[in-house]
Amino acid sequence: AQTVTQSQPEMSVQEAETVTLSCTYDTSESNYYLFWYKQPPSRQMILVIRQEAYKQQNATENRFSVNFQKAAKSFSLKISDSQLGDTAMYFCAFMNPGANNLFFGTGTRLTVIP
């Protein structure tokens, strides 16, 4: 069974600084997807970034980038130039395409300090 572990329940960062959120996962599959979702206080789940396991290049979306280490089964999220609007819960998620089910970690609560 797939499991997703986020070992940092809470983190904080000063505005304009850089922060990295950790995620590890366990799977025996070779092809899969990894995602980071943001959940602000509004409760909406917002897709931040997506990575396909068959791609070696790390995904980047503006200020958000990932460090995908397939052998280590690690998928960390780096947020550069942190903004107050980045304050939210961040969930790492894994998907096996064959199952089409997203497995979520327990989340990291990020607070951006002015």
Binding site: Y33, Q44, F91, N100, N101, F104, T106
Partner: protein, 117 residues
């Protein structure tokens, strides 16, 4: 551009009551899902559907039922509400042809906060 619409946003039920959580999407997605999120936890899959007329159980299906009569709608039914079903419920949809390159992640609704007392 509505995306995924869930109703109601909040609901309080008494133990033993029944209700249906509504979910509709207008993106012509073939896959739809119901998740629950308990306090301080990630989301867990209740049921999912790969197309109209086809549904299947997820990790935590007990106490729930679903149907998918159209591509757009995927209601979740609670028959005999229990305090353990107090949670936030999310509906989501996605499009996939089954090809590994075709899945772009889920679009989520804004959630329904359900309290069973």
């Amino acid at each position: 551009n509505a995306g995924v619409t869930q109703t109601p946003k909040f609901r309080i039920l008494k133990i033993g009551q029944s209700m249906t959580l509504q979910c509709a999407q207008d993106m012509n997605h073939n896959y739809m899902y119901w998740y629950r999120q308990d306090p301080g936890m990630g989301l867990k899959l209740i049921y999912y559907s790969v197309g109209a007329g086809i549904t299947d159980k997820g990790e935590v299906p007990n106490g729930y039922n679903v149907s998918r009569s159209t591509t757009e709608d995927f209601p979740l039914r609670l028959e005999l509400a229990a305090p353990s079903q107090t949670s936030v419920y999310f509906c989501a949809s996605s499009y996939s042809t089954g090809d590994i390159t075709s899945n772009y992640g889920y679009t989520f609704g804004s959630g329904t906060r359900l309290t069973v007392v």
